[in-house]
């Protein structure tokens, strides 16, 4: 998988391979520019091509290689097959439509597909019409604007019988994401909602397609910590209720530790370690993972300086030979400095049979690092 920019070519993703089992959460963690978002967008083929070029590889979803699928079939995979949640909910929701209509669109598309119909967004959805009510005045508390109940009732009354059912389903999805008064929320515009609320709407939209795989790209990074904790709680609960697999992409090791069953660590476009969450966090087998874990600040000034990782991520256009991490690695030797890259090999399987793979020539020495 490569990116073409200007005259040079960047290898944004390099031989990344892993499996995402059904009903599991795989977390992908890494620093800025390591390729984790590229990965998340490459799976449902959302990368603009050009500049992106997929050189080789497979994305097998439910037995079908998505990269071989004709372009016109991709929309039928997105939404109902693979759902997405993005970092900035304000950019991912259309500011010109009421959130109810946007969720209704997602529900509608899924229903049409279930019936084997072309899900063009038409009469059925427009009938819900969460329309005409007063715009909020300056000074209204934005998270709880005043809506006269009569107006909401009228909007509902106008809904034709066909879409009444759709309306109910929209409400049910909003209730699913713990929105207390969905009848009021449906008629609001995205800018009238708080960040946490918007992210709930995004989750509701993604889930309303009943996807088999949900790709969550930094879903809580734009939120405040207390709101982030609420949304993470919600996602945890939903995992129990809605059976779906999740690819959870985040730069926050804490969030990954909390959410993921299995974790992949990325560095400079490579997947350098992959294994069960407990293994990754407690006995990493790659020096970069170890360094990343160590550099989380968790001490007082009096306890000495923070351990930090010197140097920086190599630029993708000028990758070092051999292991991409060797210039910063405390245990690098000659073998690491020359091609080929270290193979992505599995450690002997643990008692529970979980496979823990890493791309390091000396995984045993990682444990002895400080």
């Amino acid at each position: 998988m490569e990116y073409r920019v200007g005259a040079g070519t960047f290898r944004a993703l390099n031989d990344v391979s892993f499996e995402l089992p059904t009903h599991r959460v795989v977390g992908i963690v890494g620093e800025t520019g390591c390729g984790k978002s590229t990965l998340g967008h490459a799976i449902p083929r959302l990368l603009p091509q050009p500049p992106a070029i997929v050189r080789s590889g497979k994305v097998v979803f439910r037995g079908v290689d998505l990269l071989r699928l004709p372009k016109w079939q991709m929309p039928s995979i997105r939404g109902t097959g693979i759902g997405m949640i993005f970092q900035e909910p304000i950019n991912s929701l259309n500011p010109a439509f009421r959130v109810g209509d946007q969720v209704a669109e997602a529900v509608h598309i899924r229903r049409m597909r279930e019936r084997g119909l072309d899900p063009t967004f038409r009469r059925d959805v427009q009938g819900t019409d969460y329309s005409r009510r007063e715009m909020p005045r300056a000074g209204d508390v934005v998270s709880a604007p005043f809506v006269p109940p009569a107006l909401v009732d009228r909007a509902k009354a106008r809904s034709p019988p066909v879409s009444k059912e759709l309306h109910e389903e929209v409400l049910s999805f909003l209730r699913l994401v713990r929105i207390n008064d969905p009848e009021r929320i449906v008629s609001l515009f995205p800018h009238e909602l708080s960040g946490g609320m918007r992210q709930r709407i995004m989750i509701a939209m993604a889930l309303s397609g009943k996807p088999g795989l949900l790709i969550a790209d930094e879903p809580t990074s734009a939120l405040d910590v207390t709101i982030q904790a609420q949304v993470l709680t919600l996602m945890k609960e939903l995992m129990e209720e809605v059976q779906t697999s999740i690819l959870f992409i985040s730069h926050d090791l804490g969030v990954i530790a909390e959410m993921a069953d299995e974790v992949g660590v990325m560095y400079a476009g490579h997947l350098i370690e992959f294994g069960p969450v407990a293994e990754i966090f407690e006995s990493p087998r790659h020096p970069y993972t170890k360094a990343l874990l160590r550099s989380i600040p968790n001490r007082y000034k009096s306890e000495g300086p923070l351990p930090s990782l010197a140097g920086s991520v190599p630029n993708l256009s000028r990758m070092p030979a051999g292991c991409a991490f060797h210039p910063r690695c405390p245990i690098a030797r000659d073998v690491c400095r020359h091609d080929p890259e270290p193979p992505f090999v599995a450690a002997p399987a643990g008692p529970d049979g979980a496979v823990h793979r890493s791309a390091c020539y000396f995984p045993e020495e990682v444990a002895s690092l400080p």
Partner: protein, 363 residues
């Protein structure tokens, strides 16, 4: 608190941003509303110490930092620097005073003029204070300054876009330190950086402080950064201080329910402490019509009727005069651990302690 004269003393500081009224509202005689970004805040910073100001978005922490750096005009209250009220300095006097307080911004891209070279950026404060300084001397001073923030002195003539995020933040830092200020306001200095780079910058900040003796006002939502850098912590919620105290006391034994909620909300990279539930619900209210009484009452699990009507004042709790909390039930909730607010998975863990009486969470 102590007999030492504080470097910076902020007294009942307020900053309101008035909102525009529509014509109909003006005709109907609605009062003009305002965003009450900072609503009566008092604290101090002593020479050479770091005060961490923690808060979420909309807490008014950035506004407070800008007030201290005199980038906003206070609505009311006093800002004393070295015992002198600088809240209303203007013109030449204000510009001359600015050498004492410098600010580092969050945005590593926007805070450096893309058309200036490194030496121009870093020497800008020197030039502002001494406009006649020769170019060669400015370059020399910048050359000497760059290594103190960990940048190679050869990069004098480079442009900011040639640096990574961490490098740019070092440039901002070099610019702020170029005048040897007494106080540096750090406004989310590491929020845009990766965790490995963040550790480098925090280490640098602490090292510089012990070398030159600056005081820092570290404004951030990042509790671990405050934990590492700060001597004292102030927790801000909706324009008011909820809790102020030594960093150990506030982080290890938080008293205010909001501080507890904040600490419980932090994702911890510990797979043995995976949270199943977070027990604080509700949205953060806006600063336009903040709730009457305690600002946290709408989300507080320990709320009682008094909290909804009467505003709690910062007061000394539990004997330590340096640790002050604005909570009516401070004594009762003091010993509740933040972990009580979360439920840890799996079910094998001990069942969560029931919250004390009157703990019906406001939904």
């Amino acid at each position: 608190m102590t007999d030492e004269v504080p470097l910076l003393e902020v007294v009942e500081l307020q900053k309101h941003f008035p909102l525009a009224r529509t014509l109909t509202e003006a005709l109907r005689g609605h009062a003009r509303l305002a965003i009450r970004a900072v609503d009566g805040v008092s604290f101090d910073v002593r020479p050479g110490e770091t005060v961490g100001l923690i808060g979420e978005s909309g807490s008014g922490k950035t506004t407070l930092g800008w007030l201290v750096a005199r980038l906003h005009e206070p609505t009311s209250g006093a800002i004393r620097f070295d015992g002198r009220d600088i809240g209303h300095l203007q013109g030449r006097a204000l510009r001359a005073w600015r050498r004492n307080v410098q600010i580092v911004f969050q945005d590593p891209v926007g805070s450096l003029d893309p058309r200036m070279r490194v030496w121009e950026i870093v020497s800008e404060p020197i030039r502002a204070q001494a406009p006649r300084t020769r170019r060669a001397e400015l370059r020399e001073r910048v050359r000497q300054l760059l290594p103190t923030v960990g940048l190679p002195p050869e990069c004098l003539d480079q442009y900011p876009h040639e640096f990574s995020g961490g490098g740019r933040q070092r440039l901002s830092l070099a610019r702020a330190l170029s005048l040897q200020p007494r106080l540096v306001v750090l406004d989310e200095p590491t929020s845009a950086l990766d965790v490995a780079v963040q550790a480098q910058i925090l280490n640098r900040l602490v090292a510089l402080q012990s070398e030159f003796g600056f005081a820092y006002l570290l404004i951030t939502h990042n509790v671990s950064a405050v934990k590492y850098c700060a001597d004292r912590v102030a927790v801000m919620y909706l324009g008011k201080l909820a809790e102020v105290g030594p960093v150990h006391a506030v982080l290890e034994r938080p008293i205010h329910p909001y501080t507890k909620a904040l600490l419980a909300a932090l994702p911890v990279p510990d797979v043995r402490r995976r949270r199943a539930r977070y027990r604080i619900s509700g949205e953060i209210p806006t600063l336009i019509r903040p709730p009457p009484g305690c600002r946290f009452a709408t989300r507080c699990p320990f709320v009682i009727d008094r909290c909804r009507t009467e505003e709690p004042l910062l007061r000394v709790v539990a004997g330590d005069p340096s640790h002050r909390v604005a909570c009516h039930r401070a004594e009762e909730v003091a010993d509740i651990r933040p972990e009580t607010l979360i439920q840890v998975e799996p079910a094998a863990d001990p069942p969560a302690t029931p919250l004390p009486a009157a703990a019906a969470p406001a939904s």
